[in-house]
Symmetry: C2
Subunit: 334 residues, 2 copies
């Protein structure tokens, strides 16, 4: 294991110390627990948005706490769920009198955590609704969306719901927007190499020197096909098939696209891959109104990438384009 760290067991807490040291004007923690991360710039009367999940995916999850985005994140160990107590403490801080929406990925531990936190919040009179991200088309067939993993496409839900809450929508309206973003978003990933969990100290899985695994999850969950790495354009075509099929995109439709590096893949390659995505969408007459290329949901040093596409209506297009500001994700209006 070749990582910059001190002790493996301090990996997450020292990372968090670094984050608070770097961004004291934007992020802070509550309940005397650095894993209860909240915005340092709460907005009174706004619907609170809370997420959480395991560490090892920066900027996911905590990186989307910021203006026009989320209000808090409960931070777990590497690939581990945070506790219900932590999620509850974040909820209390995020509640600004208008209730709280949970948006998190479809993993058993996280569901348990947030369901219990919601009960604790209810007992305190805080209204909480929940939405579980499940954008990974490779993780279960169509028709079984409730079994699918949540991966990078959750960014689109954060962005749309975050902008909706910033506009002053109420809790039910923000949930409606989040559900619409989810219903219109699909993701597929591919991995070339494994990550290493610091406390484990060796690769989570092995993969042949010239192989790729299509459909792999961001913790190394098995994909749908392993085989020799193909030219970039062919890899993109194989991944776009199910995404475009499920979204039934047709001429005149508008989309936002997220080309997400999993950690070890250089940005140069992401742009080579995006070139093909743009070409295929242009051929179909689909208009790309917003493009993100970079690292948005990683698996530490894993090489690979994912493509997420969200079909836009006018409302989603407006919300995606809205200004946002976190230390990990800043955009100007437009």
């Amino acid at each position: 294991m070749k990582k910059f760290l001190n002790k493996a067991e301090d990996f997450v807490d020292e990372m968090l110390d670094g984050i608070y040291a770097a961004h004291p004007d934007k992020l802070r923690f509550v309940a005397d627990d650095r894993r209860c991360l909240v915005t340092a710039r709460p907005v009174s009367g706004k619907v609170g948005l809370v997420t959480g999940g395991g560490s090892g995916h920066l900027p996911l999850f905590l990186g989307y706490v910021g203006t026009g985005l989320l209000d808090g994140a409960a931070v777990g160990g590497v690939f581990q769920s945070p506790s219900a107590d932590q999620a509850f403490e974040v909820t209390r801080a995020a509640d600004q009198g208008a209730g709280v929406l949970y948006i998190y990925g479809n993993y058993t531990g996280d569901i348990l955590t947030f369901d219990m936190a919601a009960e604790m919040a209810d007992a305190e009179g805080i209204r909480v609704l929940s939405l579980v991200g499940n954008d990974d088309v490779a993780s279960s067939p169509a028709g079984e969306e409730h079994k699918r993993r949540g991966v990078a496409g959750i960014l689109f839900i954060y962005k749309a719901a975050g902008a909706a809450a910033a506009e002053g929508m109420n809790l039910d309206e923000v949930l409606r927007v989040a559900e619409k973003a989810r219903a219109n978003t699909r993701t597929m990933g591919v991995a070339l190499s494994s990550c290493i969990v610091p406390e484990v100290g060796r690769a989570t899985f092995s993969i042949g020197e010239s192989d790729m695994e299509i459909g792999m999850g961001i913790h190394g969950e098995p994909g749908i096909r392993r085989g020799p790495l193909r030219p970039a354009d062919e890899v993109v075509d194989e991944m776009l098939g199910p995404i475009l099929g499920e979204l039934s995109l047709a001429k005149g439709d508008s989309v936002a696209v997220l080309m997400n590096g999993l950690g070890g893949t250089p940005q140069e390659e992401l742009y080579i891959l995006y070139r093909r995505v743009a070409g295929v969408l242009a051929e179909r007459g689909v208009s790309v109104r917003k493009t993100y290329v970079g690292e948005f949901a990683t698996s530490m040093e894993m090489a690979g990438f994912s493509i997420s596409i969200m079909r836009l209506d006018d409302e989603l297009a407006r919300l995606v384009a809205a200004q946002a500001d976190s230390p990990f994700f800043a955009q100007h209006q437009g």
Copy 2:
């Protein structure tokens, strides 16, 4: 070689096609040559800022073309200089009547390119000044700064000069600011693994399974010491020594810090490393007014990082804090 690409010889041009496809409202090219990249939002009457250099370092160099930043970049092959003709065409487009400042790294090929381009511009009546970045303290001893390589710290020069030009300073003033930023910036890097140049197809250098190389350049130029990887805090301490020594930072001083990942190092580790940087600076009574943590100057998939520190006066602090907007680097005021 395990990379997402089509043909190795198309690596740079397909990357550029992807970049133009992704950001058509912000970037375009001139002279019918996609390697002559300029902003799509030129500002009439503003001093033009131009950079350039080899590909393989995204977001460097072209990623800093944007509002409040640079106006154009001449793009070379992977680790190769662009041509003088390309730099000249970018210069013509960047000139908005107030002259052009070149800011680029201290590499022989780039110096030849930009010196020749400056002559061509002069022949057309465009006033051009030049500043060569040389922030890498590991590449030559103090007193021989003119022999040092330019690495990640050039971001601070771009940011300060870009904001100065956006404020309306004239060419001589922008050069003064850029010189001040350079004089107050130092960088040191460390590598854990090599990158692979696509057309070469194998690692540029090899390094032991548990070794690091302190002071290595972003093309794999030899560093100053190779040895076993040490705990993160010790690595930071070794790197901060020369940086803090040369900047003679004392109690009450203010700085900006750039923790730059070289490509293969996860953001989690950068924050663990930053934790120590912040601790050492706090101990010395040095105040950090701006912190950047992420990938700003890479070497494709190379694992490693660099620390850059710029000592701030009030003017540099104001310029660093100014709004900026490129597809690769966006920040709100503050």
